[in-house]
Amino acid sequence: MTRKVGIVSYALEGFQGEARMSSDELVFRAVNSALRKAGVGRDSIDAVAVSSVDAYDGITISNGLTAPAAGGYEKDATRIQGGGIGAILSAYASIQSGSAELAVVAGGDAVRYDDAAISNASYDVHFHRGSGITNIQSYGLVATSLLKQGVATEDDFARTAAKNYKAGTTNRHAHITSGYSYEDVSSSPMVAWPLRALEIAPVSKGSAALILASEKRAKELTRNPLWITGIAAGSNTYAGSWQDLLEMKGLRKAISNAYKSASIKNPIADIDFFELYTPASPLELAYYEPLGLCERGKASMLLKNGIRFSGREIEVNPSGGALCTNPGNCGGVYRAAIAMEYLEKHDHARRGFIQDSDINLGFMGETYHVMILEKETR
């Protein structure tokens, strides 16, 4: 029998600039804050899932430090690499199985590193690493295909970035709040044609924590739990055909499973906002169609006209997305927390969609995670 799983608390720490403390201290602060907000202590927690990538922590087993910082001492503690929603899925499964009633999901980013060099090292050493490919070039390769397919133009890439930067100015947690304009983006240096510097996400430092609960515990702890009504994952092939990669079958599978689980028939009618992991602006346009927001090849039109249903605007990346805040370890946890804040602040909004993946390390063999969060139906 399926159990309901809710999120009863969240906390965010940092993101505005350089980290001034280590990952474990950052994680401790966020988890401690989320537990206090939920009105529970560490002793109430049954399971802990930490989201981290060892290379981003500059250590070969990052959760050795961060699992205790997340409250994991003597607990069922797991580390998930590959995106924060993967860690949420692990905690969700612990509650679904009945082995946990209350679980912490957390991640933290503190170490300064060379993002592109770590990405290059994530590619296989025998075929790809030597070709000078990094996450940035992999986004550029996808962007070139979007141009060729007529999905979008270079102008659209810049407009999408400017849209995200504008949204980021209203996000009190965002790393980049400068509100770069279309002109700023389209005149920024070319990094990997067709990608310009301001079309690529920064590397952000901070931490995020969530407290997940079974239905019974959620209702004891809060009058306003948010329920995870859909959560799913999907992987792509590694160095398969280029068409396979562009088709993003792993993403499509995850979306379709999550929509089915949450009984979503028409995403534009049923979902109020989307928080997507798009570390380069063209990817947002690439995701519109698999999400069911537009027909194939119509992303550019959607960008120009906006997404509307019954007179209301459906926002994509109201937080400013990854272009404004991009922590490598806790990104998915951050986006889930940001989505919770959005649902708290917007009475009209009932349901949010959060997407995550490991493409911060670059495309190829990527795994996607998606989650649907919704308010209690009254």
């Binding site: 060099a117 090292a121 790809h128 000078g132 990094t134 070039q137 295909s145 990997a192 160095a239 398969g240």
Partner: protein, 154 residues
């Protein structure tokens, strides 16, 4: 002397690894010494893999049958790098997604043989679907970088 409110610790890691390449990768690499680009075929879906793989991810079958390609390919996508990245070539350089022969998969390699005097014009000189061929190193060791780059077929 003022006491800083926080400190940073600088460090790096230099680690040595050795990866066993297995029979499929080894055969593919060894053929490069002879200026040959091989592929292997899935017995079920018949898809040709270039570079070779030990198994088909979709059919989940071992790949034991081999074919020799003529080495030419087409550009499926490309990106022109203008910024220096650590452990990567000096810019500008072009990373291409190249499909060799009738392969169902792609190689990632450089596209060269172009006039790089005007870097801004490089994107206009490459077309998706353009036919390319390998330019080989004189001395080859059995590595994808035995191919210097792929150049447009004249």
């Amino acid at each position: 002397m003022e006491t800083p409110s926080f400190m940073s610790k600088q460090y790096n890691m230099h680690l040595d690894f050795s990866l066993a390449l297995g029979a499929s990768f080894t055969k593919w690499m060894q053929a490069l010494k002879e200026k040959k680009i091989l592929g292997n075929t899935c017995p079920k879906c018949k898809r040709v893999f270039v570079p070779a793989k030990p198994f088909c991810e979709i059919c989940f079958e071992e790949l034991k049958d081999w074919v020799e390609t003529d080495g030419t390919g087409v550009v499926e996508s490309f990106t022109v790098t203008y910024q220096k990245f650590r452990n990567c070539p000096e810019p500008p350089y072009v990373v291409g997604i190249i499909r060799i022969g009738n392969a169902g998969t792609c190689m990632t390699h450089w596209i060269g043989g172009l006039d790089y005097k005007h870097p801004d014009e490089i994107p206009e000189k490459i077309k998706i679907g353009m036919k390319v061929e390998p330019v080989w190193k004189e001395e080859r060791v059995g590595d994808p970088l035995d191919i210097l780059y792929f150049k447009p077929v004249a």
